[in-house]
Amino acid sequence: MTRPAVKAEDLGKEYVVGGAEQMYSSFREMISGIATTPIRKFRKLRGEVGEDEKFWALKDVSFEAKPGEVIGIVGRNGAGKSTLLKLLSRITSPTQGRIEIAGRLSSLLEVGMGFHPELTGRENIYLNGTILGMKQSEIREKFDDIVSFAGIETFLDTPVKRYSSGMYVRLAFSVAGHLEPDILLVDEVLAVGDVEFQKRCLGKMKDVALEGRTVLFVSHNLNALSALCDNGMYIDQGRLRATGSINEIVDKYISSTSQSVNHWQAPPDREVRLINIDAIRLLGNDGREEKHIRYDKGGCLEIGYDSKLSGNRFTIAVRIMDGYGNTILTSWDTDSNSSEKPGRGLLRCYIPPNLLRPGNYVASVLAQELTLNRARLVDEVSVSLEVMSVGWPMQPGRVGIITPILKWEPAHEGTK
């Protein structure tokens, strides 16, 4: 049996959360409070705090990664994915447990680490490469490849602060892409750069995986994860909930996110904006409140809003995204409602039947202020939207992001 590339046992990380500042109810209390503040702050800065101010960002996580395995890590924001990568890359140390890493590990938690804006592209390649753990001789060897992959030949001796953001990211990723680690940790770096470059990076990452390196990849881009990874881990609230093949894990993750709200009511202490979305309800096509809509019946979103602007100076929009983060559609109230809406009221946005592929979606309701030449986003609320497969024509070949039933009819020769 080969030695695992990464082996984690009972890993846990406890953080101290900053307690809220104390409120004083009397003058005397305030005086004594202020006098003891330095002492309390000193204790806090030393890390001496009560139990209630601590929380486990990660707990009881055990897993193994075999050499050459590409693992995708999914989970909601704040689930502990980044903490796990930070522990593996030794940026922060675990509170409990043990990790064994066999071989050289590089982490790409951010592109362009240590880039100094005043230094030139050439100088930054050496700086960044060394920070990432390359030897000077290694960088010299790969220098030309790095430069040509980034496509910045003509700007080599320009300070990077004069680079466009695209060039900056390309250079940074190019340096990172020429690392030859045995284990690579990647955190959401592909969220930057232009589409074409992202594709090249994905290609580069695929090369890395094919060369037998172990990769741990954190991303919200589930498409990229499915394409790149073999296996997955699903982390939720600091616990490792599931491991398995990447498709299983992605499915589990998507179905778990759909348990969130599909009805929303603004809490009373919500900040008041220029335009407020007060409530969102999901209704079936019969106008009754529903938890989900049927594929063959459709439904509608009822949106309660309250605006300080007159009806022609703002719009309400609905944007529907699938569980992979792809936007399926966007529609504005002005699409079909020609009469001026009142400053506050209810709007219904009808989702037609036989259109959305059964599954889980996120519906975002956007309130936009219309100014002279653009729309400014003022408020945004998202609810989950589940489309049930009732009435869905289940032909296996019916692939596509949306699955509408289109109108077909025979056309006779000679008929107009």
Binding site: Y15, I91, S93, I101, R104
Partner: protein, 285 residues
Amino acid sequence: MKQSDPIHDEYFGPDRVTVIEPPKRWHTLDIRELWAYRELFGVLTVRDIKVRYKQTVLGVAWAVLQPITMMIVFTVIFGRLAKLPSDQFPYPVFIFAALLPWNFFAQATGTASGSLVGAGQLLSKVYFPRLIIPLSSIGAGLVDAAISTVILLLLITYYGVPLTINILAAPLLFVAVIFTALGFGTILAALTVAYRDFRFVVPFMIQIWLYCTPVVYALSLIPDRWHWVLALNPMAGIVEGFRAAFLGKPFDLAMLSISIFVSIVIFVIAIAYFYKVERRFADVI
């Protein structure tokens, strides 16, 4: 053919097995690890040097102008106006021999103490021995010190002060002042991470420290029996040592030993404290 580098390979080679565990209470200075990361120390030092004078009109000339201006101001105020004694040496040479170690120390300690907070971005994204950060900001100060040494030698020649055998002690004194800066620099860097108060304390402290050190005045102004108290300030013994080495006056060995001893003690405490809190840096920054 790649050169083999056993220590680098030990840390970066394919056979490396890294074990990550909760930090132990005490940790000793890991010289091997620092050595494995020496190239990082090199590039960060070079970065600090390059960046310091980027986009300035005078560039490295500042490294010459600054100490000379200080020397002129001190000479006018303390030498001419206050007429402080300078042990029979021309006041400019007398003061510059002290400004050389003092400026290095003040600058290195000052930049080192803010260095970890300044590198917070880096600390929270990638692992390397954290000690590299304050070390490299001290390393960057050595360039200015080298320039100042040349100026001092020119001044000595200009004023006709004879060089003596004492000059041979200069390299040792440089080592002493570097260690002193390392000690104070690392401990203040670590303290600044946890308690940002030190950002205000350090510049202020260095200013007062200047007057607790015989830089602008001669040691002979202080009664002999109090010299040992002054020597508890490691910079006092070292500054006097520099004067002895470059100006050829006799060494005050007792004072120098006390200062160097204090300096070593501080260095040991600094490294111990640094390692103790190192693992928390990324969480706190």
